[in-house]
Symmetry: C2
Subunit: 348 residues, 2 copies
Amino acid sequence: MELTDRKKQILKVVVEDYIRTAEPVGSKTIASQMEGKVSSATIRNELADLVDLGYLEQPHTSAGRVPSPKGYRLYVNELMEQQKLSIAETEKINQSLQLKMEELDRVISQAGRAVSSFVNYPTYMAATGKKKVTACRFDLLPVDERSCIVVLMMSSNRVKSQLLRLQLKVDLEQIPTLVTLLNSHFTGVSTAEMNQRLMNVADQLPPQLFLLLSQTIAYAVDALEDAGQREIVTAGAKELLKLPEFRDADKAHELMSFLTDSKENLPMPEEGPMKILIGPENVSEALKDTSVVVASYDIGDDMRGLIGVVGPTRMDYATVAARLSGFADGLTRLFGKQGLPPKEDAKE
Amino acid sequence: MELTDRKKQILKVVVEDYIRTAEPVGSKTIASQMEGKVSSATIRNELADLVDLGYLEQPHTSAGRVPSPKGYRLYVNELMEQQKLSIAETEKINQSLQLKMEELDRVISQAGRAVSSFVNYPTYMAATGKKKVTACRFDLLPVDERSCIVVLMMSSNRVKSQLLRLQLKVDLEQIPTLVTLLNSHFTGVSTAEMNQRLMNVADQLPPQLFLLLSQTIAYAVDALEDAGQREIVTAGAKELLKLPEFRDADKAHELMSFLTDSKENLPMPEEGPMKILIGPENVSEALKDTSVVVASYDIGDDMRGLIGVVGPTRMDYATVAARLSGFADGLTRLFGKQGLPPKEDAKE
DNA sequence: CTTTAGCACTCCGGGGAAAGGAGTGCTAAA
DNA sequence: TTTAGCACTCCTTTCCCCGGAGTGCTAAAG
């Protein structure tokens, strides 16, 4: 027995109806929603076949049919119509992204909240470096004999700074030499290399200068590693509570804990602009009854961000996918190829 | 009829039992938990009185009694035993606070999460400046003709920096003059005053310098206002779902939305170390069925932080209060009177 | 061979009624 | 003033019944 076109059409109707209503779909309903006119009896035969083929499931005898993960998969791969965003929706997305360009992090988490309220499912976001971030410029601004501000400019164009308290007094005259040294020997290299080179110059400098140097490098190493690391934030977990499948407080609590606590193992995309994971396709146990849609976007030339939506398996894939990719595109445009925008904040 | 000691004792038993079980408390239960031995019939008489006095409520005839807000209030004011933290608990608190001293914000929200998991209720946190934050030092580091890093040191000892893109080329020679101007005229004053003074010098500078100056000031104003503003973060909203009173998904959703979206109007303390708000004592409609315990702590000399716990009216006031003040004390100690700790980060 | 109509059957879900239980209020005695 | 006893109330749980939605099967029609 193979999958005829009519079977596919029926599957499509079942999936879409179930997405809308969260109720098992019966043969009569299907018959009335189908294009050509067929009787419910015919549909019933087809339905029995679709169950045998594994695309549908029956909660119990004499209930309607519900799509199985395999059914959703087929729907997503073949049947789903690429949904276009309406003008109004595009407007709304752009508007959401018209936030005052503050720091990257804030924009990202704000975007996450926006997406969440837009698709009515929880979202999560992360940014990962494509390349290693390196230092590209140092400055030291003496405040007084015992303190000094380090300013570090990174290859990602972000600037970070910190006030250092010094153990030993430092002769202000010597600072410029140190800055020159920093800029000539510690820029454009990995953090491991930076530590290495620090060791090399250890005995060529007076102790108080070396101390300042190593404090500076320690700070830079921290900052660079932090910048390269991906941080994950989630938003809109409460949306879950609106869905009938999570009216059971225990279930909701379980998934919510997973989203807020163990976010490390949320699905991350390999490549490609978008990925859909349905139910058991998720590795994490906690997500086995839910689906995830992830999209990625570019941040400048060397970073890649990611934004995902978590929802029930019957989530409205077409709409979510369309909106999510709308956002991803918007974000790419926002801090896209041309480098970070002029008013990019030094991550505060 | 007045409130005898025995009535108070009964009230105490009712409150504590109800806190534990979330079920109305019956006369027999009370009799068995009371010190002196009295029969349930006696208790029943007393209970009827307590209802008349408004300290207890009866969900319906022939159900047990439940404390009214007035009853909780009396309990909190008079009956509640100041609970001591066990050694193990103190340990645990200190341990939670032993996080690598990173930026203030991060510590605060981390503390929030810790408290939340420790009391099993959602928490919220905010830091507010006691005094206005002002700029105390500016620096401009030219990167190239068209860009420049501003470094701003604030009176709170925090350092922020940003890369500015310039509209017009600036002669590098002139930068030092500008820095001098900034440090002499724009430090130690309010943001309003800064804007004022900016206007005053408008026609005394060549246009490209003035542009740079105003960009710098605009950034500083933003940064200062941001630093003075209180930001509120919440944590552990999911804890709600564990409580029987929020098994109803609608209720949980409502409160959760309030916590995550409209946090502006969460109760803030006036003064004193701790405040307990019970049910209707809360102004916000959304909190009228819940209680809030807020504690405050000091950050350096000029800031004050606040940490609150939201829970059902039957929340375990004694324990929550003890643990919360444990945390508040710990936080005060952590970045207490002696000024910010040496490794205080420039908010990244 | 496929489609359709008809029909008996299954199973869920809602609506009472009945049973059980916890707790009260009242009365009368200690 | 306290206590024991008892009838009563009202919630909760359970059970059962019934209606409806939907199925599977069979037999007839295209």
